[in-house]
Assembly symmetry: C2
């Protein structure tokens, strides 16, 4: 397994692979890898000859009062996991390499990035789009894999890639959950044992709303209220609970087969997100 830190070296290497007709997949991550990331690697392996995984904690997608400086990092552990799962190359640039002096160019998606997380994190998706373009141009992948826990992120990236004509196919992979249902996230590490237990209210209430919808309750406000109540009862501080069309991310008053319920809530100081389709047989874990 190779590890590159330089953009120009990675780009040159990718160009040489492409000239040989070798198909490249990129799995962009912020590191502190878990089984969720490894499901992206598995998907990458299925669709490409050469799997690159990038590890970069991107400062521009964190707001001024968010957890950039304390975001967990473990390059050694990440490397072991990557080696074990057959990653071919880790791209691991530092911030000076990714944002050189007088860096002044931004990529912004202006519709899908506005609702949901975009409301409480107004500069987040601009940071995400910008770094993803930088990573795409550094690694020149044929395909790139994103996780569906960050559903809105995957939607924004797909739109950005379409709008800007990037020659990259975007695939997304279902949420991977802990044995008890909590959506896997590097941020779960922040949770105290009590918060960890209470945070199960998120996935359990989403599943409850899903069951209600499957049994015929199609009122978005009633379903959202149920989820809100359960999370609040467990001590969660809700950022948003919304039922939206999975393509447009616009609110839907009545549930259809395209309806997604998306949640962001704080347990202690930790912001967690989760989502599921409402007309769907189950939440798998």
């Amino acid at each position: 397994m190779l590890t590159f830190e330089s953009i120009s070296k990675t780009q040159e290497f990718s160009l040489s692979l492409r000239r040989k007709g070798i198909k490249i997949a990129l799995v962009p991550t912020m590191g502190f890898l878990h089984e969720g990331h490894m499901s992206l690697v598995k998907m990458a392996r299925m669709h490409a000859d050469f799997v690159m995984l990038s590890i970069f904690v991107n400062p521009t997608q964190f707001g001024p009062n968010e957890d950039f400086s304390k975001y967990p990092r473990d390059f050694e552990g990440d490397s072991e996991l990557c080696l074990k799962h057959g990653v071919d190359l880790i791209f691991h640039p530092d911030a000076d390499e990714m944002y050189p002096d007088l860096s002044s160019t931004w990529v912004e998606e202006t519709i899908l990035s506005k609702p949901l997380c975009g409301k409480s994190r107004p500069t987040h998706f601009r940071g995400v789009c910008t770094v993803v373009v930088k990573l795409f141009n550094a690694t020149l992948p044929d395909i790139a894999i994103f996780g569906e826990k960050d559903y809105q992120q995957a939607a924004v990236i797909k739109r950005m890639v379409r709008d800007l004509n990037f020659p990259v196919k975007i695939l997304s992979v279902p949420i991977v959950r802990e044995h008890d249902g909590l959506a896997m996230s590097s941020r779960n590490k922040y949770l105290s044992p009590d918060e960890r237990q209470n945070a199960l209210a998120i996935c359990k209430s989403l599943d409850e709303a899903r069951k209600m919808a499957m049994e015929g309750e199609l009122s978005s406000s009633l379903l959202a209220e149920t989820v809100k109540l359960r999370i609040s009862q467990a001590g969660g501080n809700i950022d948003y609970i919304e039922i939206v069309n999975s393509e447009t991310l616009l609110p839907e008053e009545s549930v259809s087969k395209n309806s997604l319920i998306a949640v962001a809530a704080y347990f202690g100081g930790t912001r967690l997100i989760d989502n599921c389709f409402l007309i769907h047989k189950n939440i798998e874990y």
Copy 2:
């Protein structure tokens, strides 16, 4: 010579060239081609195996009261000129192809695009950066050529390419002038015979300022005043006259070898731009 209108077809074709190790140059234009554009084609031929020229009048780089709808178009004439100068492929998409429904992604450079033309055309460079990224991803060039008449545009594009890690080398080509010195531009077509004559005040006054600087007059304000007076005397309506550092585009009080004088002025309804380095032996035409 090939002509493609489809992004996906062009992209597929470029990928096949790249796999064969064929080096691609792109000359991005808005059409109504003249000898200025052909000097870009010549430079492209010198540095690449395959020369693509794009023709697309990009709506998003025109302001609401600018000349988008009346911008001159002559695809037949353009094709003949391209054929004569050895262009291998014209990429000629329409607006629906370049900006599909719900197009919502913008690329913006936020420092170099602010002064000079950016002041009077606040959304111009955002439109330019966005369309250039789309064109780069459609044609996947190794190098791209821009003209120095649009000096600020070339500077913004170079910065954007560096910031976003595009694997494209940007070359720029000196201004090509008519026999009497007027900088070549598709917009010169708008000028009446009188305006055409009066507009010579732009290049003549720039050359006068250059001569003064070469003879030791290094006060930016005095040189700019001279140019302002000459253009006003000729009936021109000045948008800006600025002496700036050619790297940062920031104003310079005193002229150095990196000083560029840049002008935008209206003759009749036509906005013309021109520029030259002040410590330089001559304006060539």
